[in-house]
């Protein structure tokens, strides 16, 4: 079994999807000849041709809307948004067209489309290049939103998202692209796409995360274990729909929950998750559900990025506050 990075996992997953289904086409800015800014589509145009890996002008709205037309004709377009902050020029198409056409056509037209977005910070980039817009898409009926956190999930989840008949906003933690390697068993049976997963068992508190914060939360749980605290960590993986049953089961067991994400705390995913836990697990809770996230400011310049991003200390501080409640 080969050890691969997230970038390689996604690349291999895209390749597998294109080999399996000739209707899969990739489009975006510099995805072909250059292989993408983060090299996620590296080599695909060379092997599949310019008609299946389409280099586009800088026209996010045009790209997304063109993908709608392709999907109407039975294609499965995979659009790469180069950086998270570049998705906003396409926001109109995503919210007004992509998310609504199935509904508007009474189910007659499907929108099997994937919108890949490298998201989050941690690479020393600035605003428009480090953002976490997931809640804005999870808030929109008609879209599905998932976030991968590791190379193996990257490989499987991108293929599952492409196979999905609904439009999927696919979030990739860009600081993880080349960070860690994991063993990929291509013959394994993957977990379903729209399912959260317990990635570390524990009994004192439940830590909930997705994308780049899964690693931070795993490290936090490890550090807490050194102090005798048993932390359960759940990788949410799917943000719309949320898969809450494993979360409820965990919180009923631990009585405490902390949600962590890079996105701003105000009206972030953590707010919805906290509300659902309060609605379903009220009598199991020993403490209020706490949220850890980015500050409610635009993304800062790189020299103070470390202050902005929730890290091990901020997660552990919330863990301590919850346990002390």
């Amino acid at each position: 079994m080969a050890k691969i990075t997230l970038a390689k996992g996604l690349n291999a997953g895209l390749r597998a999807a294109m080999e399996k289904d000739p209707k899969v086409v990739i489009m975006g800015e510099d995805v072909g000849k250059l292989g993408g800014v983060f090299r996620i589509t590296d080599g695909l145009q060379k092997d599949f041709g310019e008609d299946r890996v389409i280099d586009t002008p800088l026209a996010e709205s045009g790209i997304l809307g063109t993908a709608v037309g392709l999907a109407m004709r039975g294609y499965r377009p995979v659009c790469e948004i180069q950086f998270d902050g570049f998705v906003y020029p396409a926001y109109d198409q995503i919210v007004s067209q992509v998310a609504k056409i199935h509904f508007r056509s009474q189910g007659k037209v499907k929108m099997p489309m994937v919108i890949r977005i490298p998201f989050g910070g941690g690479i020393g980039a600035v605003e428009h290049h480090s953002e976490s817009p997931e809640a804005q898409f999870a808030h929109t009926p008609g879209l599905k939103v998932v976030a991968c956190s590791n190379p193996v999930d990257g490989y499987w989840m991108i293929q599952q998202a492409i196979a999905c008949d609904d439009p999927v906003v696919f979030l990739e933690p860009k600081r993880q692209y080349h960070a860690d390697k994991a063993e990929l068993d291509e013959s394994a049976t993957p977990d379903p796409l729209f399912a959260s997963r317990v990635v570390r068992e524990g009994s004192d508190l439940t830590l909930l995360a997705y994308g780049p914060m899964v690693k931070t939360c795993m490290q936090s749980a490890e550090a807490a274990a050194g102090e005798g605290k048993s932390i359960e960590v759940i990788d949410l993986r799917t943000l719309s729909p949320l898969d809450m049953d494993p979360v409820f089961a965990s919180v009923r067991k631990t009585g405490r929950a902390v949600v962590a994400h890079e996105a701003h705390v105000n009206l972030g995913m953590g707010s919805e998750i906290a509300a659902r836990i309060a609605e379903e697990c009220f009598f199991s809770l020993e403490a209020p559900v706490l949220r850890v996230g980015g500050f409610d400011t635009p993304y800062p310049p790189s020299r103070i990025e470390e202050e902005f991003l929730p890290d091990l200390d901020r997660v552990l501080d919330a863990v301590d506050r919850s346990l002390a409640f």
Partner: protein, 331 residues
């Protein structure tokens, strides 16, 4: 549905009678919609294209079944000229389950996949990128299909328009950009919104064939569309038609029309596309007063039937509202 020019010359009287009938169908349908709106039978928003019928009819007359149409929120005429039944459109106006969008779309979102009518669109310029995608799909599959995209002069101010014309020109896509220049983006006159009001000139700057057309003359529209579509089908890349037209009524049912003179409207009404063709055919002896009355009576009866069917049709049950937000089979 009228036929293509290669089978019947444009000057042929019978063919022009067909064009006239299509325009009358749209006119009488929309006039009835206005009445029904005042009677609160039709709810939501209503934008009629009375005065602009020659554009819808002339362009649709040259299309084949396999061609695609993407439209705007002022699209009743486009839908009817495309061959969608009055019954299905009127039921949609009523919000009934028998409507072309099962009552969910209403006036602004008529939709009929079977007729390759990919929707009205309430977002100005919002439909343009969809047309690019449809045309790209057809080009990749090597189908000799044309996608027509209707939009107004207001769309020229939107970035999406410029993204899309560039994409279509760059990739030489089979798209006909049918710009309905009715001189107003809602209440804003074109000269108050566009630094250069010669829209065909601006479209031509993208390296595509573009020319202005008298949008009140259905035969002129048909001839221009035919020329454009021939060129597109032959692989010549996209074309742009600036169809100069005028809406006789207000933008919507809530528009007090403070932005234009009554005299201006009256001047344009003298060029009513239905009157123009009626007078022409009458003068040539191709249309008698009896035949004209019979045509009006037949179309009125068609509208009556559509209204009666819409009145009798059921609403979609409220409990179905959550259906079709997502597909009903999991991946």
């Amino acid at each position: 549905m009228t036929q293509t020019l290669d089978r019947e010359p444009a000057a042929d009287v019978r063919h022009r009678l067909d064009l006239l009938r299509e325009m009358v169908r749209i006119r009488l349908f929309e006039e009835r919609c206005v009445e029904l709106y005042s009677a609160a039978k039709i709810r939501g928003f209503l934008h009629v294209a009375i005065g602009e019928e020659a554009v819808a009819v002339g362009v649709n007359a040259v299309l084949d079944e396999g061609d695609a149409v993407v439209s705007t929120y002022r699209e009743h005429g486009h839908a009817i000229a495309r061959g969608m039944s009055m019954d299905s459109v009127m039921a949609e106006m009523y919000g009934k389950a028998t409507g072309c969008s099962r009552g969910r779309g209403g006036s602004m979102h008529l939709f009929d996949v079977g007729r390759r009518f990919y929707g009205g669109n309430a977002i100005v310029a919002g439909g343009l990128p969809l047309a690019i995608g449809l045309a790209l799909a057809d080009k990749m599959r090597m189908r000799p299909t044309v996608t027509v995209c209707f939009f107004g002069d207001g769309a020229f101010a939107e970035g999406e328009f410029h993204e899309c014309v560039n994409l279509a020109a760059l990739w030489r896509l089979p798209v006909l950009f049918a710009c309905e220049n009715n001189l107003y983006a809602m209440g804003t006159a074109i000269a108050r919104a566009q630094a250069e009001t010669d829209l065909a000139l601006r479209a031509a700057s993208y390296g595509i064939a573009a020319w202005p057309v008298d949008g009140m003359d259905v035969v002129a529209v048909e001839e221009a569309a035919d020329r454009a579509v021939d060129r597109i089908r032959a692989g010549g890349g996209p074309c742009f038609l600036e169809l100069r037209t005028y809406r006789f009524r207000a933008h919507s049912m809530y528009d007090p029309e403070r932005y234009r003179d009554k005299a201006e409207v009256a001047r344009w009404r003298e060029r009513d596309p239905i009157d123009l063709l009626t007078h022409q055919l009458t003068a040539e002896g191709g249309l008698s007063a009896e035949a004209r009355d019979a045509m009006a009576a037949e179309v009125t009866a068609e509208v009556d039937r559509a209204v009666a069917a819409a009145e009798a049709a059921p609403l979609e049950p409220a409990e179905d509202l959550e259906r079709f937000v997502y597909t009903e089979t999991e991946a």
